[in-house]
C-alpha cells in the first residue's frame, strides 16, 4: 500500500467513535481495523453472521468455520456472538449499524454511490453492499481519488448503476477528506503534500473550499 493510501486508512480509522457498531467493507475499509487501539470499545459486524470480529488469522491458525464476508479468516473476542444471515441483515436494515465504510467506483455530489457493477465488464452480483449503503446510520467511502486512468471518482452524477441513492456522508481518499453536504462536495482535510488546486483538479464536480485553514492528514 502506498504511503498516501496508508495515511488515508489511518485517517479513516479516527472516524470510529467509542461504542459504535461498525461494518467495514471488503478491501481498503477492512484495513482500518489495523489502526485501532487494542482496547478501543467498538463492535465490528460482518454480514455473514458475527458481531465482535477479532483479529485476522494466518491460515495455519485459522478456524475453517470462521470467516468474514470477504472470506478472510478472522477470530472472535470475548462477547462475540454468531447469528444467521436473516438476523445479520435485520441488524443492518433496522439501523443498528452506526457506521459503515465502503469502497467506491463513483460517488456523486448528492451522495449517490456506485460500487457493484460495471455493465458488460464486471457484474458479480451486489452481495450485501446495497443494504449496508442504504441503511447504516453513516456511510463513509474509502477510495483512491481517481481511477487507474486518472479519471475522477467523485462526480456530479454517477454513470454506473447505483448501489444506493444519496447515502454517502464522507469520503476518505489518498488526497483529501471530503464531506457530502446539501449543496455538494465540501473539502474538509487535505493529505500532506497535496494542494487544494490539485484536489479540485482531480475532482469531477464542484468542490466547496472553506476559507479557513484545513487540517492535514
Amino acid at each position: 500500500m502506498s504511503n498516501a493510501k496508508e495515511r488515508m486508512v489511518v485517517r479513516a480509522a479516527r472516524e470510529l467513535q467509542p461504542g459504535m457498531v461498525v461494518n467495514l467493507g471488503i478491501g481498503l475499509p477492512t484495513k482500518v481495523v489495523n489502526h485501532l487501539p487494542a482496547d478501543f470499545p467498538v463492535c465490528l459486524h460482518t454480514e455473514n453472521g458475527l458481531a465482535g470480529i477479532g483479529p485476522t488469522l494466518p491460515s495455519d491458525q485459522a478456524n475453517r468455520n470462521l470467516i468474514d464476508a470477504g472470506g478472510a479468516y478472522v477470530s472472535t473476542i470475548p462477547g462475540s456472538a454468531f447469528f444467521d444471515s436473516a438476523t445479520s441483515f435485520a441488524l443492518v436494515r433496522s439501523g443498528r449499524l452506526d457506521l459503515t465504510m465502503l469502497g467506491a467506483f463513483e460517488v456523486a455530489a448528492n451522495g449517490d454511490l456506485a460500487n457493484w457493477k460495471i455493465p458488460g465488464k464486471f457484474s458479480p452480483g451486489v452481495g450485501g453492499g446495497i443494504e449496508l449503503a442504504q441503511k447504516a446510520q453513516r456511510v463513509a467511502v474509502l477510495t483512491t481519488h481517481t481511477d487507474r486512468a486518472g479519471n475522477p471518482k467523485l462526480k456530479e452524477r454517477c454513470s454506473l448503476p447505483l448501489t444506493a441513492q444519496a447515502c454517502v456522508a464522507r469520503i476518505f481518499t489518498d488526497m483529501a477528506v471530503i464531506d457530502v453536504e446539501a449543496n455538494g462536495f465540501t473539502l474538509v482535510e487535505t493529505a500532506q503534500g497535496v494542494s487544494v488546486a490539485e484536489i479540485i483538479d482531480a475532482t469531477g464536480a464542484a468542490l466547496r473550499v472553506p476559507d479557513t485553514e484545513l487540517p492535514k492528514f
Partner: protein, 230 residues
C-alpha cells in the same frame, strides 16, 4: 477491540420511557415477563403508554400493575383470557385493545426488527380479523398486508447476559423476547445473571448485544417470577 459496557441499574434504565411511548414487554404468561422492569415503570410513572405484549398476565401481576396504575392507553395483544380485570377495562372503554393473531403479532414485531415495512399473510382471510386490512395479489394468490410493528422501548427478561448486552433465555421464557429485542429504539433487558465478557458462548447467545442498549442485573426475584399456584 473490546466490546462496550452497557450495564445499568433498573432504575437508571427505565427513565428512557417517556409519556406516550410504545413499550414492548417480553413474556408469555409468567415465563419471560420482565416483572422488575414493569415494577420500575410503574414507579417511574410514564403515562399514556401503548403496551405490546402477548397477554396481560393475571390480575395483580406484571402488566396488570400498569393497567391498575392508569398508565396504559392502548394494549396490542393476542389474548386476555387470564386477566378479567383487563377485559373489564377493555369493555368499559378505559383502554383501547387491538387483538392480533399470535403468530401475526410475533411476525409484525419481527418485521419491525428486520427493518421491513410489513409482510404478506393469508392468515385470517374470510374472518373478521381480516376486516380493514389492505389486500394484495402476489404470485396469483391473495394476501393481507400486515404492517411491521416497532416500539420506542422494549423491556425484556433474560436468564443470563454479559456486559455487552448479549442475552440468553431459558425454556419457554424465550417467546417474544428475542423478537422485541430487535424491534425497539431503546432495548432494556433485566437478567438473572450478568457475566463479564466471554461468559456466554458465542454460538449459544440468543440475542446479540448489538440490539441491546441497557442490561441490568436482577436482585432476588420477587414472587411474581415463581410457579403460579392454582
Amino acid at each position: 477491540m473490546k466490546l462496550p459496557d452497557k450495564q445499568s441499574s433498573i432504575e437508571e434504565a427505565i427513565i428512557h420511557v417517556k409519556d406516550g411511548d410504545t413499550v414492548m414487554l417480553g413474556g408469555f404468561g409468567v415465563p419471560g415477563t420482565p416483572f422488575a422492569l414493569i415494577r420500575a415503570l410503574v414507579q417511574h410513572g410514564a403515562r399514556n403508554l401503548t403496551i405490546v405484549k402477548n397477554d396481560a398476565n393475571e390480575p395483580n401481576m406484571g402488566v396488570d400493575h400498569l393497567l391498575q396504575s392508569g398508565l396504559v392507553a392502548r394494549l396490542i395483544t393476542t389474548h386476555l383470557g387470564l386477566n378479567a380485570h383487563a377485559i373489564g377495562l377493555m369493555n368499559s372503554g378505559q383502554i383501547d385493545v387491538e387483538f392480533n393473531a399470535q403468530g401475526i403479532l410475533a411476525e409484525r414485531i419481527r418485521a419491525g426488527g428486520a427493518g421491513l415495512g410489513g409482510f404478506l399473510s393469508d392468515i385470517g382471510i374470510g374472518t373478521e380479523l381480516a376486516e380493514g386490512k389492505q389486500v394484495i395479489e402476489q404470485g396469483g394468490k391473495t394476501y393481507l398486508v400486515e404492517p411491521a410493528l416497532r416500539a420506542d422501548v422494549a423491556l425484556l427478561h433474560a436468564d443470563r447476559a454479559d456486559s455487552f448486552g448479549n442475552l440468553a433465555y431459558v425454556a419457554t421464557a424465550r417467546n417474544f423476547n428475542p423478537l422485541m429485542a430487535m424491534a425497539a429504539d431503546c432495548v432494556i433487558a433485566e437478567a438473572e445473571a450478568v457475566f463479564p465478557l466471554g461468559g456466554l458462548a458465542a454460538d449459544d447467545i440468543h440475542t446479540s448485544g448489538v440490539f441491546v442498549d441497557h442490561v441490568a442485573k436482577l436482585g432476588a426475584l420477587s414472587k411474581e417470577y415463581a410457579v403460579v399456584q392454582r
